[in-house]
């Protein structure tokens, strides 16, 4: 019980830190876009590489809050009748759903790690201002690791609910 609570606090704390980085990325996106608009429309001088950098910052905005969004139940789910099932059965199916989500994130971590290593080796970078891609790919890996941790916690919780229902 104590370990579980500690794990949730750990996930929330790191999720919050990742969110702060995403806030920064979002602010920077806004600033760069506004400078680009003002430069292009008023002085005929668009900010060089603004689109590239704004696109890469969007990677941080999309990826870093994955875990905290899951913790707050922010990812959309469709209810195809699960709520009408008996509690134990519902917990079982939710457990299966959580296990599948865990499997997906394991695959994502493997896929993005390989992709990041490959990008680092080949030195792939953005077209105009040559910002390397690999740090952003690694940022996705790190955010997937935290999301995986959160999903494992949810899986443990659903297994526990099922066991408690068995005892009852």
């Amino acid at each position: 019980m104590k370990t579980e609570k500690g794990s949730v606090i750990f996930a929330r704390r790191w999720g919050g830190r990742f969110n702060f980085v995403a806030y920064g990325a979002c602010s920077l996106m806004l600033c760069l876009s506004v400078i680009d608009i003002l430069g292009a429309k008023l002085f005929a001088w668009p900010l060089p590489g603004a689109a590239d950098v704004v696109g890469l910052l969007a990677v941080l905005v999309a990826a870093l809050p994955i875990a905290s969004t899951e913790l707050s139940g922010g990812h959309v789910r469709l209810d195809l009748g699960l709520v009408y099932l008996p509690k134990r059965m519902k917990a079982f199916f939710q457990g299966v759903g959580n296990a599948l989500s865990v499997a997906l994130f394991v695959l994502m971590i493997i896929a993005f790690t390989k992709y990041g290593i490959n990008m680092q080796k080949t030195g792939e970078a953005s077209m105009t201002v040559a910002v390397p891609f690999y740090p952003f790919v690694y940022a996705i890996v790190i955010s997937c690791l935290l999301a995986l941790f959160v999903l494992i916690l949810e899986l443990k919780r659903s297994v526990k609910t099922e066991k408690e229902d068995d005892k009852a």
């Binding site: 969110n19 995403a22 806030y23 979002c26 602010s27 996106m29 806004l30 876009s33 506004v34 680009d36 608009i37 429309k41 689109a51 590239d52 704004v54 696109g55 890469l56 910052l57 969007a58 990677v59 905005v61 999309a62 990826a63 870093l64 809050p65 994955i66 905290s68 969004t69 899951e70 707050s72 922010g74 990812h75 959309v76 789910r77 469709l78 209810d79 195809l80 009748g81 699960l82 199916f93 939710q94 299966v96 759903g97 599948l100 989500s101 499997a103 997906l104 695959l107 994502m108 493997i110 896929a111 993005f112 390989k114 992709y115 891609f133 952003f136 790919v137 996705i140």
Partner: protein, 434 residues
């Protein structure tokens, strides 16, 4: 197993993933990746997962999402909802059903800068419901008009659902936004008509309020003028091609930031809440799009959409009848499925059929989004019903459901009008040069 059967197996797997409660985005990604494992091996599947996700996350086109969401969050934090309602009240308050009409008008205006159905219903509900209660409005009309008008956020730009549709079909976000303006206004007018007719048949349900002077009207207008100007600058810039969609979103967010600062509504807490809302909503939508596109690519490889469009195209039915059946399907499915989920599920499968039948993809997008809008205000899944229920806990559920009926009919009438007169959707985008 043939490619086609693999595609069908992928769809079945996807529905099973939905059933076990996986988030929609994760379910799409996993079903797509497993499909690619089958079609191209494990290495190929992993490569597509990484390349497709990274290219979507870093696509400049998708950066429109955080910008517009931030604009909406800041507007929400700025407390514009009360001022919009006050302005509506000065215009319509003295007539029977005037507060409900004010709610419709204020929701349409709020949706134009916010883009979120839930935020529109919640923000407006806090202001409108106590007023309607004070003037002894019936529970059904008060809750019904609020939940329905809140749903205008799906159609009136900037709408997250329109962005999702644009990304799935590679259509211009700007054109879709502009295409949503007239149908959004038409729907708001039909909601207003529903209120007027309701009051005509049951005059006691919405008594008139006090009259207001011209001076009060002008003061109320002055308080919302900056937000209305912001909307016209953003949408006007988009319409004339002066802004790209991302630039329009950034200009809107910067404008909303300045307005909230000038109004002294921007505390640190409000700013952090706006950021929190922005990154979580953007993350949810961008992960959804990335997942849906992986699955969509898999379906395209298996040829399911092509076979389906050939089959539907070969049916002895007119294109209009087929379209009507598709709309009917979305109408029914929208009552039990989330709007995002439904669009992500059906668009990749049906899109090539729509093109083959010769329908305009922009028109189709607006029609489908309008129809799934009904899902937001119909039981059992209707998000706005539960938001309104939370704001009006004393109102019986039966009254709330009864209140939705005239507005659901208004959506149905709007869908029929748009099908008969596609020009309502396509008129404004026809002036756009890009």
């Amino acid at each position: 197993m043939s490619m086609f059967n693999a595609g069908i197996a992928g769809i079945v797997l996807l529905i099973l993933f939905f059933f076990v409660g996986m988030p929609v985005s994760f379910a799409f990604a996993l079903a797509g990746v497993l499909g690619f494992f089958y079609v191209g091996g494990i290495e190929g599947g992993l490569s597509i997962l990484a390349i497709e996700t990274f290219s979507n996350f870093s696509s400049y086109g998708l950066t429109v999402i955080p910008m517009f969401v931030f604009m909406g969050s800041l507007t929400f934090a700025g407390g514009i909802s009360a001022k919009l309602f006050d302005f509506g009240f000065t215009l319509f308050g003295r007539i029977r059903g005037g507060l409900a009409l004010s709610t419709v008008a204020a929701c349409a205006a709020f949706a134009a800068v916010c883009g979120s159905t839930a935020a529109t219903a919640a923000a407006m509900g806090k202001v409108a419901l106590p007023e309607m209660k004070r003037y002894k409005y019936g529970d059904s009309i008060a809750t019904g008009c609020l939940a329905a008008s809140g749903s205008l956020g799906i159609l009136i730009p900037p709408s997250a659902t329109l962005i999702v549709y644009a990304m799935l079909t590679e259509q211009s976000v700007g054109k879709l936004f502009i295409a949503g303006v007239l149908p959004g206004l038409l729907l708001a007018a039909l909601f207003a008509l529903a209120v007027i007719l309701w009051c005509f048949y049951d005059p006691d349900i919405a008594p008139p309020g006090p009259a207001t002077s011209i001076k009060q009207k002008l003061i109320a207008f002055a308080k919302v003028s900056d937000t209305l100007i912001l909307f016209f600058v953003v949408m006007g810039g988009l319409f004339t091609g002066w802004f790209t969609p991302t630039q329009a979103g950034a200009a809107g967010a910067a404008g909303a930031l300045i307005i909230t600062l000038v109004r002294r509504k921007l505390t640190w807490r409000a700013l952090l809440e706006a950021f929190e809302d922005t990154i979580k909503t953007s993350c949810m939508i961008m992960v959804l799009i990335a997942g849906a596109l992986i699955f969509s690519r898999f379906l395209a490889v298996t040829g399911v959409p092509r076979v389906l469009s050939d089959w539907i195209g070969g049916l002895p039915l007119s294109p209009f009848t087929i379209m009507a059946l598709i709309v009917l399907f979305h109408f029914v499915a929208g009552t039990v499925l989330d709007s995002f989920g439904l669009i992500l599920l059906t668009v990749p499968v049906l899109y090539s059929t729509i093109l083959k039948l010769g329908f305009d993809p922009i028109w189709y997008g607006i029609i489908i989004i309008l129809v799934v809008e009904m899902g937001v205000i119909s039981p059992p899944e209707g998000l706005n019903i539960w938001i309104v229920r939370g704001l009006a806990p004393d109102a019986p559920m039966q009254s709330i459901f009864k209140g939705m009926i005239p507005f659901c009919l208004a959506i149905l009438v709007c869908a029929v009008l748009l099908m008969i007169f596609p020009q309502i959707v396509l008129f404004l985008p026809s002036f756009m040069s890009y």
